[in-house]
Structure formats: C-alpha cells, structure tokens
C-alpha cells in the first residue's frame, strides 16, 4: 500500500490496470506520466489510481521503459539497446506496439512518446512501401491504377 517510507527511497504509488492488476511504482517513475502527475496535483490520488485504458502487460512494458529511459540518460549502450528493442517489437508484434503507443499517449509520457516514434522511424527507414506493408501486415486496398499513380506522384521519396 502507498505509504511514506522513512528510508531515503521515494514514495510508492499504487496503480491499478484495467484488468484489475495492482502495481506499486516509485513516485519518481510514476511522475514521468503527466496524467498521474496531474491526478496527484489535483489530490485525487490518495488511494489506488485506476488506469482504465491500460492493461497489465502493456503497463509492465511502460514501466520497464520508463525505468530504462531514466537509466540510459548517460549510457550510450543502453540507448542503443532500447532503440533496437523497438525494431524487434515492431517486427514481431506490431499490435503490441500500437497498444503501447496508445498507453503512452494516454499516460502522457513525453520521453516514451519520443522513443516510440523513434522506433517507428528506425523501423521504416529505407524500406519500400511493399516491405512496410509486408512487415506491418497492412492490407493494400489501392487499385493497381491508384497505386501506380500514388507511386508516381511520390517518386521523390524513393530516391
């Protein structure tokens, strides 16, 4: 339960995901989220903070990345690792990526918003539309004529 500890470590905040799982998170980590920060400022966070839009597995991911992000500030190795993880995630499971992105957006965590955007940027870099479609499992709903026209019009992007 949330209580002010007498040690030097920070306060613990209790959060509950949409599927009912309860998390205990250090205040410093939780405050990365502007949503939680606002809730605490408005003093409506005395008890367990409900997060109706975030499921437990996704919330795990968010916390993990928040922590890593805090650690990596001056650690280039970690930075690289974190960036490459994104590629893995996008390749193996684009759906989780979008869920994560949604959660990050809902929790309003700027550092992770930048990170997830970076993942996508790295992932898409230099790939052709056809390859992107294949990897992200996007259904091509253009007619052949439409596709030809669009490719022609945007030819500059393929140089």
């Amino acid at each position: 339960m949330a209580s002010t500890s007498n040690s030097t470590s920070s306060k613990i905040i209790t959060l509950r995901s949409s599927d009912g799982e309860v998390f205990e998170v250090e205040e410093s980590v939780a405050l990365e989220s502007n949503l939680i920060r606002r809730m605490m400022e408005d003093d409506c966070a005395n008890n367990i903070i409900p997060l109706p839009n975030v499921t437990a597995p996704i919330f795990y991911l968010v916390i993990e990345h928040c922590k890593k992000h805090a650690e990596m500030k001056d650690n280039k190795e970690k930075k690289k690792e974190l960036r490459s993880q994104g590629e893995e995630l996008l390749k193996s499971d684009p759906h989780t990526y979008s869920n994560l992105m949604e959660a990050v957006n809902y929790l309003d965590i700027k550092s992770l918003m930048d990170l997830t955007a970076q993942w996508l940027a790295d992932f898409l870099k230099g790939k052709s539309p056809r390859l992107i479609r294949e990897l992200l499992k996007i259904k091509n709903d253009f007619t052949p004529e439409e596709e030809a026209e669009i490719l022609e019009r945007n030819r500059w992007a393929f140089d």
Binding site: P57, I63, H95, T96, Q118, L120, I150, N154
Partner: protein
C-alpha cells in the same frame, strides 16, 4: 517489481489495421521524416490518410533552412521564384524543388505568404490570383483553395473579373499555431476595387463611363477583405472595408506580415496599413521617411522607394532604400514617432551616387548595387524580395 519482456507482453493476435485513435497516430507520425511518411503513405488508404495529415504537421518540427526569393522583372512584370538553401544545423530539411514545379500554377506561381513551413501561393497575376494553393515545399504536399467568384458590394453582386478587382496580398493565419495537430487556418485576402473601372456585371451593357464614375463616388470601398476558413471550406466577406480617401493611397504589391493578431501591409506613399484580425478593422500608421522622399512624392515617383516589411524576434521591421540610403527601422508603439532607426547606410559607401531626378527610376538603378551587400543588409529581415535587374537591359 516483475519486469515483463517484450515477448511476454504479446497476448493478443496482431491486427492488420491501426485500431487506435487517429490523433495518436498523427502525433507519432508527425515526428517522422517527410520521406519516411511519404513511403508509408503509399501502403494503403488508411495510411495514406493518416500520413497525409501528419505530413502537414511535420514541418513545424523541421522548418526548411533556406528561403524563397520572389523575382519581378521590371520590363515584363513577370514573376518567378527560386529557392536558396542555407546550410545550417542538422535536422533541418532542404527543399528539393527549387521552383515549386509540383504546383499546377507552375511556372507562373507567386508566393504570397509563408508560415510554419507552409507557403501560400497563387497563380500569376494574369490569372487574377484567384487560384490559391497551400503547400509544403519539403513534402510537396499541396491543397487547392476553392475559388471565390463573386463579391457583394452594397446591393450589387460583382464577379471577380480582371478589370475591376485586384488581388493585392493574402495572409495565412493559423488558428492555433502552438498546437501540433491544429491544422485549421484562415486566409485573409485583400482585394482592391478597380479604380474607375468598377462595373456592375449584371448591367454591363448600356452603361456609359459617366455613370461608372458616379458609382465609384458613391462611396464604394477601395479595399475589402475576403476570409477563407479551412474549417468551413468557404470564403466569407469581411465587413471591414476601406473607403477611398481624398488622399492618394495605394497598397504595394509586397508580402504582408502577421504580428500579434494584426496584418501589416505596405502602402504608398509612406503608409503602413494595419488590419486587426479579430476586430476586422483597418488602421493607418505613418512610415518614417526623409526629405528626399517628399521630393519623390511631389514628382509622383512610382512606388517611391524599394521597401519591405519583416519580422524578427517578435518585432516588426521596415527596410527601405531610396536614392540616398538604405535604412532599417523597428516599429515600437511606445515611441512617440513609433519607429526606431536600427540600421542605416549611405549608398555612397557602395560608390553609388544617384541624383534626385533619377529618383523616379530608382528601381532601375538598383542594378548598380552589389547584390551581396544588399543581401547582407536585408538579412536583418526574415523575408525580402529583390528585383531581378540582370535582364532589364
């Protein structure tokens, strides 16, 4: 605390289409490079829509590092544009299409205004500038603004026709520039009602010149404002108008400047016209000038000096050059004269001596000016235009 790995986090089957809100995607996508976005755009209809919206925002984060020069040839009044790249900090984009050849108005495009990396362009003057395009020069995205064909003045409807309307300048105003996903904008277009040539199109036959003259004297406005809103996709007519004054006055064909909710436009002789966007009203402000310009004025010199407006660090600047000197003034309403001289240089420095009688042809004489120096001087202003003199002779 348990840490869940990426693999453990996968629970649900992958989904084909993005099922999260568009706003979130646009937020993410607008952080991507325009090139990447364009490739993504080519994958499917959903992505085409999302990336097209995001692409309009992406410029806010990576403005182009360069500028467009609008050239006007004195002999033909033909305009052309050219992009000049300025190599600066990394991360800034370059414009690969130096003449905006992707616009339908190419090669007769005029740039009317620029804001947040967007250009407001129109087709050449002989097209009556009734075709407006909003474009992003980096991504080559553009939208065509619907045309407005008629205008009601008093009880009469006039068609926008060559001879009685002149589209002077237009200003692009974003409703909320601080917000990334705000793509609502308005265009303020300033229209001059033709001097002595205002003809009611509905009764064009059998109307002699005398009557036309009368119509004009009945207090028809000299200047009126059309406003286009991207939200409604419609043009509306502002109630604001400027009546013809006894005093000789006309607006110059120069880009306007938007500052603190007001649009500033240069007029001649030596007047600055301010249009308050919210209140929709006009106001005149005197421009600084010296005795020589007074002589020029009496001699009815065309457009007197070379001049332009600019914006720097939230202040309005006015640069002008007459036959004697070149000056840059800063607008400061707290000052009694409203203007503070920031820079000034005598043209003699460049070895140029112009006699006052030549004042009327000053524009032609600028070819004697070393262009580099002019650019250094004008660099104080964000935007400038120069007259292409090399082809005059």
């Amino acid at each position: 605390m348990d840490i869940c790995t990426v693999a453990e986090a996968k629970k649900r089957a992958p989904n084909d289409e993005p099922d999260i809100g568009d706003d979130i995607w646009i937020e993410i996508l607008s952080r991507l490079h325009p090139k990447t976005l364009t490739r993504l755009k080519c994958t499917s209809k959903t992505w085409h829509r999302l990336a097209s919206t995001a692409i309009l925002h992406s410029q806010i984060k990576s403005p182009i590092s360069g500028f467009f020069i609008r050239r006007v040839r004195f002999s033909t009044r033909k305009e052309s544009i050219r992009y000049h790249h300025l190599p600066t900090a990394a991360g800034q984009s370059s414009c690969t299409d130096h003449t905006l050849s992707f616009l339908p108005s190419h090669p007769h495009t005029t740039i009317l205004d620029s804001r947040h990396g967007f250009l407001l362009c129109s087709s050449a003057p002989d097209d009556m500038r009734n075709n407006y395009y909003l474009c992003n020069p980096v991504t080559r995205q553009w939208v065509s603004i619907p045309q407005l064909r008629e205008r009601v003045l008093g009880k009469t409807t006039y068609r926008y026709y060559c001879n009685y309307f002149f589209f002077l300048t237009a200003t692009l105003v974003f409703d909320d520039p601080s917000h990334v996903s705000s793509d609502q904008y308005r265009i303020y277009r300033f229209v001059r009602f033709g001097l002595g040539s205002a003809i009611d199109v509905r009764s064009i036959e059998g109307e002699d010149e005398q009557e036309e003259e009368d119509t004009n004297n009945k207090g028809y406005p000299y200047l009126c404002v059309d406003i286009y809103s991207s939200e409604t996709g419609q043009w509306t007519q502002s109630k604001a108008s400027l009546k013809r004054r006894r005093r000789f006055f006309h607006l110059l064909n120069r880009p306007s400047v938007l500052l603190d909710g007001a649009i500033y436009m240069l007029g001649a002789p030596h007047l600055l016209l301010r249009f308050h966007v919210k209140e929709e009203c006009f106001e005149f402000i005197d421009l600084p000038c010296d005795n020589l310009d007074m002589i020029a004025k009496q001699a009815k010199a065309p457009n007197d000096a070379l001049s332009c407006l600019g914006l720097r660090e939230g202040r309005l600047y006015y640069a002008y050059q007459n036959c004697r000197h070149m000056q840059v003034w800063m607008f400061d309403e707290c000052e009694p004269s409203k203007w503070v001289l920031k820079h000034g240089v005598e043209l003699q420095v460049f070895g140029i001596i112009l006699d006052p009688p030549f004042v009327a042809e000053l524009g032609c004489n600028i070819k004697q000016l070393p262009m580099k120096r002019v650019i250094v001087m004008m660099d104080l202003l964000v935007y400038f235009q120069y007259y292409d003199s090399s082809l005059q002779a």
